[in-house]
């Protein structure tokens, strides 16, 4: 029996096989979706760049050489150099690490936070719901970038604080989604059945409600990653993101924007990096939606 057959077995013989089989089927479906594949390739490149930055980057990301500033793209400097004579390509490569960190941390902080709050609100309903959603609405109705700005200002500069700030602004949307989703099945019979079996609320929420919300959450988070990268870039643009000389893409654009007319590459290269990675996430998210969430995406 080939691995493929084992994975696709109609009657798996263990939990592991069942779950792997499910994963395999999804992967398979994902791989047949051209956009999703493009997205995955982009993200793999990002991860690769982040992991092997020191080997890929031809120069140090922070090594200045004032004599070679603002050089246009050339064979030595693929993306040119910036105002301090640093190699932009190397900075973009190292910047992948920061971007990846932002993306990962925000996903780790705000998605679970929103998920939990939304699930609790949707599951219990009544006053719990009203209070939690009230808080969510308050956060939601605040201008996002401003909220992030305020938090960064309050916490002090630095990429970690920027990440926390973005995470704080990102959760309410997830809470809304998780709540809406929870509401659709809070009265469903499998939840009633669990209650009748004596399961506690905590057990039902963590064991039964959350797993059902996660797939649409994963889709949403992937799609939002573009927005998160852009928010981080926006903080950088307004000067409150990463501390110099960290090669954060948004800060790079921000610094390069005064050169946009004459040394276009300084702002444009990191701009392309942002667009590419954001697109990668979007493509993947779109593909994931088709795979994980067929009720939303039609049956393609």
């Amino acid at each position: 029996m080939t691995t493929r057959q084992w994975l696709l077995a109609d009657s798996p013989s263990s939990k592991l096989q069942a779950n792997l089989g499910r994963g395999y089927r999804m992967m398979h479906a994902l791989l047949r979706n051209p956009l999703a594949v493009v997205g995955m390739v982009i993200l793999l490149v990002l991860i690769f760049a982040a992991a092997f930055a020191p080997w890929i980057a031809p120069y140090s990301p922070i090594g200045q050489n004032l004599g070679e500033r603002l050089l246009p793209p050339s064979f030595e400097h693929w993306m040119g150099t910036d105002e301090l004579g640093r190699d932009i390509f190397s900075r973009v490569v190292y910047g992948a690490r920061i971007t990846l960190m932002i993306v990962a941390l925000v996903a780790v902080i705000s998605a679970p936070m929103g998920l939990l709050i939304g699930a609790i609100a949707g599951y219990f309903g009544g006053w719990t719901d009203r209070i939690l959603m009230g808080v969510t609405d308050v956060f939601l109705s605040m201008p996002k970038l401003i909220l992030a700005l305020a938090f960064v200002a309050a916490l002090g500069p630095g990429i970690e604080n920027a990440i926390i700030a973005i995470a704080i602004t990102a959760w309410p949307a997830y809470a809304r989604i998780a709540r809406a989703e929870t509401m659709t099945f809070r009265n469903s019979e499998f939840i009633s059945a669990m209650r009748l079996l004596g399961a506690s609320h905590a057990r039902i929420i963590t064991g039964h409600v959350l797993p059902l919300c996660t797939s649409s959450m994963i889709v949403r988070v992937t799609l939002d990653m573009a927005g998160i990268i852009l928010t981080a870039a926006g903080l950088g643009f307004l000067g409150l993101g990463a501390q110099p000389p960290l090669p954060e893409w948004g800060a790079m654009i921000s610094r390069g924007r005064t050169f946009i007319l004459d040394q276009w590459w300084v702002a444009t290269m990191p701009g392309f990096a942002i667009i590419l990675v954001s697109l990668g996430f979007c493509f993947l998210g779109d593909g994931l939606r088709d795979v994980l969430d067929p009720k939303q995406g039609g049956k393609s």
Binding site: D10, A18, R22, F190, S192, L196, L197
Partner: protein
């Protein structure tokens, strides 16, 4: 001893009262049917007994113990329920195995592997279904899983809410046979909701006929043979359900 006893039970959702003064007893080991039109409050009564419809007044006793208004942990091992919709009553992301082990985990019961195997045998599901997800099962198979889930805690009373109405006749027959066999083997008490009178004839000893939230009549299932119902509503239900000489000859 009575397994289930309702005295003057009124049930409401918010402002609207759905069930008015329901009173009946189900003896231990008996199979009792609740029949009536759609929307007459049959499921609501089951939910009240199970603790899923907490707004009620009156007395409900199960196995001699009076019921509280919510779901309760110990009650779980005495009384279980099977729902109408086999597609909605299983968690779409859980394998059969985890559906069946979870109640055991909740109640801290050991020896799970054997128990799951046994219960799958009991409901007539092959072991190869054990690690499938619900979408890999047919409606009948799902309903078997739901029944297995209800039985795994070895309850003595089962509440069955239209367990076969979503299934087609051939599968319905299988499930009905299974339920009947299980009752015989394990000495279970059934309280079963249905709107299908022939099913009552097959499964139950007695029935309560409901109309617009009230029990209009309690009759033995032998009444189905001759249509000897007292209440006019019961009679019309009987007639419309094919208890009608014209239709009989076809089958």
């Amino acid at each position: 001893m009575t397994a289930i006893s309702l005295r003057n039970v009124d049930i409401s959702y918010g402002d609207t009262k759905i069930v008015h003064g329901a009173t009946f007893d189900v003896a231990e080991g008996e199979s009792f049917a609740l029949v009536g039109e759609s929307g007459s409050g049959k499921s609501t009564i089951l939910k009240a007994i199970a603790g899923l419809a907490p707004e009620w007044t009156g007395d409900i006793d199960v196995l001699g113990q009076s019921r509280g208004h919510g779901v309760d942990y110990r009650f779980a091992s005495r009384c279980q329920m099977v729902f109408q919709d086999p597609y909605g009553s299983l968690h779409p992301r859980k394998t059969v195995d985890s559906v069946l082990t979870e109640p055991l985990k909740i109640h801290g019961i050991g020896n799970r592997d054997t128990r799951v195997k046994d219960i799958l045998n009991a409901v007539g599901l092959d072991q190869r279904f054990r690690f499938r997800f619900p979408h890999q099962l047919s409606g009948g198979q799902r309903q078997r899983v739901a029944i297995a889930r209800a039985l795994i805690l070895e309850p003595r009373v089962m509440l069955l809410d239209e367990p076969t109405s979503a299934l087609d006749v051939s599968v319905q027959a299988e499930i009905l046979n299974l339920l009947k066999r299980l009752r015989a083997e394990q000495g279970l008490t059934y309280l079963m909701v249905t709107h299908n009178l022939p099913v009552v004839g097959f499964m139950c000893e007695r029935m309560a006929i409901m109309n617009k939230g009230r029990i209009v009549e309690i009759a033995p299932s032998t009444a189905l043979h001759d249509g000897s119902f007292g209440d006019p509503y019961s009679q019309s239900l009987y007639a419309a359900s094919g208890g009608n000489p014209d239709l009989k000859e076809i089958v």
